[in-house]
Amino acid sequence: MSKMATNEPARRRGPSAVGVFRAALKRDLLLAFRSKSDLVNPLIFFLMVATLFPLGVSPEPGFLALLAPGLVWVAALLATLLSMDSLFRADFEDGTLEQALLSPQPLILIVLARVLAHWIMTGLPLTLMAPLLGLMLFLPADGMGGLMLSLLLGTPTLSLIGAIGAALTVGLRKGGVLISLLVLPLYIPVLIFGSGAVQAAVTGLPLAGYLALLGAMLALGVVLAPLAIGAALRISVSG
């Protein structure tokens, strides 16, 4: 079933860019929904990491409320990172990735569809689940809106940057730890502005500046990251 979906755009002569994107996105989403554990695992991880902090640091509500913006953001960042390793792996192993590289359709679109599908399966659920973690960590109610908005704008950027790391390490047997080494330093700006937005929301300061910066990073990522991902995939597959 999945194979048919892959070959479909290649068989027709010159499908439109939107058509390619839609077909690739549909296939990736279908595949992701078929393996539900991959969908749920990052969410469980997200919840578990958030549970560790009260146990490890202090269960005192006032203290946790102070840390909550950063903690939720770090947990979301790590959960995204954890799910990155498998982004291109299955496609690499069964040869789908090679077909995508050989196909006449622009690789950027296929890659962008893959990342969008990944975000729908990880970043979006994380964003929707974040208020639960906020409650567990006693984040003040004023901060919830900022938390969700900042995650909504920040997690796609995390997916885009992480995909560069995934593309660089796809052919390697020891991808897991390596990906975090490559990607974590690049995540720092998103973390700073994401948790900054939540902090601003908690203290009642205007959010717009933080959200605008997160949006700017997302715009830059959407434009530039697919180029790097495509180049990295070509290198990894041919090497």
């Binding site: 390596l178 490559l182 502005f193 290198i235």
Partner: protein, 255 residues
């Protein structure tokens, strides 16, 4: 063909010659002694000048003299990343083997310079700020730069094929290059949000000439030293990668 010729006109001849590992090995062999002598003289002279003749700071006393190692290594760590990314881009675009080797040689050098800058910063911070580490914007961005170097090195060592490793690390270095200004400004903003203007020490004070002249000498000396160690690493890498070619075998046999 004609197009090729016009291209050769605006690109200097030595640029193309550098693409040949053998030519590059020869020319670095000729440059190496000059740069070694220069580096030795400048570093020795600069150190003596800085430690014995430059005036002590009126607030920090003699402890400020670590600036003569700290600042050059910090500046060099940053320009080394630029060079690594640039060499990686040249390697990606023109498929130049030598550029790949330069990029590979840059990574450990840059990492050690960043580490040196952090270590001297910590040693300097203890008497001046009272603690080894402060989450100051500059310290943090230097730490992140070190992480970027470590990532590049880790990726290089994980890929067995030399040319794939070079291309992959070049892509990573370029992604890092785009990110460095973003990281730098976000870290600066983060810092000013949390602790506004605690330390203005990191900003260059208006130093008298007796203080900054030895610093300049040390900086140039550091650059020469960097050139020497880069050339040594590059020559080693050339020999390793070209070990099957006849000129390397002849070179080894003639020794």
């Amino acid at each position: 063909m004609a197009k090729n010729k016009t291209e050769k006109n605006w690109m200097p001849r030595w640029f193309y010659q550098l693409a040949s590992p053998r030519w590059c090995y020869d020319i670095t062999g000729k440059l190496l002694p000059a740069f070694s002598v220069l580096a030795l003289l400048l570093l020795l002279g600069g150190t003596v000048w800085a430690l014995l003749f430059a005036p002590a700071d009126y607030q920090q006393g003699n402890s400020f003299r670590i600036i003569y190692i700290h600042v050059p290594s910090a500046i060099l760590a940053q320009s080394c990343y630029m060079m690594m990314a640039l060499a990686g881009a040249i390697g990606l675009i023109w498929k130049m083997k030598v550029a790949d080797m330069v990029a590979k040689a840059c990574a450990p050098l840059g990492a050690s310079l960043a580490l040196l800058a952090l270590a001297t910063g910590a040693i300097w911070g203890k008497p001046t700020w009272g603690s080894w580490w402060v989450w100051d914007a500059r310290l943090t961005s230097m730490l992140i730069l070190l992480f970027l170097y470590l990532g590049v090195m880790a990726l290089h060592s994980a890929i067995e094929n030399d040319s794939t490793a070079a291309q992959s690390t070049a892509v990573l270095a370029l992604v890092g290059l785009v990110n460095i200004p973003i990281i730098k400004y976000s870290v600066e903003w983060w810092n000013t949000l949390h602790q506004p203007a605690t330390f203005k020490l990191t900003e260059k004070p208006a130093m008298p000439a007796e203080m900054w002249l030895p610093l300049l000498v040390m900086l140039v000396g550091f650059y020469c030293f960097f050139a020497v160690s880069l050339m040594l690493r590059l020559r080693h890498e050339i020999l390793r990668r070209e070990r099957r070619s006849s000129w390397v075998q002849a070179l080894v046999e003639s020794r």
